[in-house]
């Protein structure tokens, strides 16, 4: 059987190269023609073929809201401790981003300096930022930079312009939000919702 017989799109290798590294393919990513790759996977015909093809080597394409990623079939998920640590850190980060005046959402663009400035002007934010662990950098700006760096390595952000250090939020950010949204809090929350409303709009 020849490779052509599968009738795969010719970008199959590029798709594999990105997703097998654990990265997301988002519809609004622009680097390396990512949006085009997204369109190719999103085409139902291609999707079925690619899915069948990758399933053979036990990769499974997972579909999210405007993004795709790989999971492994029949393999236990491992490294639980690292995973927990990472998501704990993401809670810190999202909490910081959620407390900003200028909240980032899908498609927004920002520069680390902007966030650093806002943190500098607001004691509460400053504290939050300083308390985020595991960062070597001392200055606020460098800390924000490291966060951006981490998030773009995990392909939630994309460095759009290196000169101005401007980042763009990709659709894969939804994944983080989805994970956080799916965490259930056991506590009785009926009374607290009003306060939470106040928190976000302050």
């Amino acid at each position: 059987m020849l490779a052509e017989d599968f009738n795969l799109p010719k970008q199959t290798h590029d798709i594999f190269a990105i997703m097998a590294r654990g990265n997301f393919i988002s519809s609004n990513g622009s680097r390396d023609g990512m949006n085009r790759l997204y369109d190719i996977i999103n085409n139902p015909e291609n999707f079925d073929r690619l899915q069948a093809y990758f399933n053979v080597i036990r990769y499974n394409i997972e579909r999210g809201n405007n993004y795709f990623y790989f999971s492994k079939l029949h393999e236990p998920n491992s490294e639980l401790e690292k995973k927990l640590e990472r998501f704990e850190r993401y809670i810190d980060i999202i909490d910081l981003l959620a407390s900003m005046d200028n909240k980032i959402t899908i498609g927004s663009r920002f520069r680390p300096t902007e966030i650093a400035e806002e943190c500098n002007a607001n004691v509460r934010l400053k504290q939050k930022l300083q308390k985020i662990p595991l960062y070597r950098s001392e200055t606020l700006h460098n800390k924000v930079r490291e966060i951006c760096d981490l998030m773009s390595r995990d392909s939630y952000l994309e460095l759009e312009d290196e000169k101005s250090e401007s980042y763009k939020v990709l659709d894969s950010y939804n994944y983080l939000l989805d994970v956080i949204n799916s965490i259930a809090i056991y506590e009785d929350t009926s009374g607290g919702s009003g306060d939470a409303q106040g928190l976000i709009y302050n």
Binding site: G22, S71, N77, E79, I91, E187
Partner: protein
């Protein structure tokens, strides 16, 4: 406006300087006189002429096209700024002219009515396209969520306004139907028909836009809800209760992305054969430079092969052809194998064959051809001097060419250094 101008003048002027006009139209802001003149397609004289016709204005060294010209182009290409206010004005005008026409059935009012009906049709469609684009843009590009929400709400209001206009237009047309019928004007009939159908179509578009807006607002709301939740989780985490008051662990355990499960990219080793190629060597060199491995850096690319490399290959073959040597040994009966090899005059092309080499040849032949050789199992001795000029004696098995059929024996004795 001092000069009397006619259409012909204006058109020819615009046409003559069309590239400059095009440039000015495309860059409506911040073009200085110098910039414009340095483009080379407009001389200072032509510039003065355009200015004298009021086709372009100059203010504090900034050049701009006459607003009327810009408006004409924009209207024609349907790209200009339109606001719902326009539609309102047109509707009022339409009302007015219909009234006039009811008073006096004069053609000039009918013409205005047609004009405004057409304009309403075009403007509503453009307004809707613009609205759709704005909604999309706002959701995707507005970075501040509060402005984003506010803008989307504004668009929702705008949509309601447009729906209102559509209704009013429909009413006006309905009221004036009998009047329009009386005119017996086929052009007017066509305009009204196309207006009606486009009104219906536009209503459909608006419903779609409404779903979009609602969808976008919901998505933003979802994000905000998640943000709220993240803040709450952070609070719980700060209290150290993340693992006890939430199902954080379960959720994170079920996370199945490759990155968070330590699945590394499949890595392939470099094929060894590849390293032997020139490309592989270049790769090795780069690695060597990176890690400062001088050992690898020294080895260069292989030199060009000598022209006579084929002949050399031939010599090698002669050297290795022991079969012939054995054949020759078998045909004679003066010497035993050891003596024969020691005295044998190898061809010159092989070069000198050392004592050690002859010795190994002896062992090789003794092992390989034991079936056709006559082993005498008697030791003979051979005296020689080694490299350090020491006298040595070597004992060897007497091996003769086979003379007649004898019982074959497999045992051999290797030479023993004494």
């Amino acid at each position: 406006m001092a000069l009397q101008v006619n259409i012909n003048d204006i058109l020819s002027q615009l046409y003559q300087n069309r590239s400059a006009i095009e440039f000015l139209f495309a860059n409506r802001e911040n073009i200085t006189v110098n910039e414009l003149l340095s483009r080379g397609d407009l001389s200072a004289e032509q510039y003065q002429k355009l200015k004298s016709l009021d086709l372009i204005y100059e203010y504090e060294n900034i050049v701009s096209l006459n607003d009327a010209v810009v408006a004409m182009f924009e209207d024609f290409m349907e790209i200009g700024e339109v606001t719902p206010g326009f539609i309102n004005d047109y509707l009022n005008e339409l009302h007015r002219h219909i009234k006039f026409y009811q008073e006096v059935r004069e053609l000039r009012f009918l013409r205005s009515i047609k004009k405004y009906l057409k304009r309403i049709n075009a403007t509503i469609t453009r307004e809707i396209i613009k609205l759709q684009k704005n909604v999309d843009d706002t959701y995707k590009n507005e970075s501040n969520y509060r402005i984003k929400l506010q803008k989307l709400e504004d668009y929702r209001l705008k949509r309601d306004t447009i729906i209102d206009f559509i209704k009013r237009t429909g009413e006006v047309v309905e009221e004036a139907r009998t009047l329009f019928n009386l005119t017996n004007d086929t052009e007017l009939y066509g305009i009204v028909q196309s207006l009606k159908s486009s009104l219906i179509e536009n209503l459909d578009f608006l419903i779609e836009i409404q779903t979009d807006i609602t969808d976008f607002i919901n998505k933003i709301q979802f994000q905000l809800d998640v943000y709220k939740k993240a803040q709450k989780l952070k609070e719980i985490k700060d209290h150290g209760a993340l693992y006890f008051k939430t199902n954080f662990k379960e959720i994170v355990t079920s996370v199945n992305t490759l990155r968070y499960n330590g699945h590394k990219t499949p890595r392939t080793k470099i094929a060894v054969d590849f390293l032997f190629t020139d490309d592989g060597h270049v790769l090795c060199k780069r690695v060597a430079e990176k890690y400062k491995l001088t050992r690898l850096m020294v080895r260069g690319l292989a030199d060009k092969m000598a022209g006579n490399f084929k002949d050399k290959g031939l010599e090698q073959q002669i050297k290795l052809d022991t079969q012939k040597l054995v054949d020759r040994f078998l045909t004679q009966n003066k010497a035993n194998l050891f003596e024969y090899l020691m005295d044998y005059k190898f061809p010159k092309s092989i070069g000198t064959v050392t004592f050690e080499e002859r010795l190994s040849l002896f062992v090789e032949i003794a092992m390989e051809y034991q079936t056709i050789l006559d082993f005498k199992y008697r030791l003979q001795y051979y005296d020689y001097e080694d490299k350090e000029q020491k006298k040595k004696r070597l004992g060897y098995t007497l091996i003769l060419p086979m003379k007649e059929k004898e019982k074959k024996k497999k045992e051999t004795k290797e030479p023993v250094n004494s």
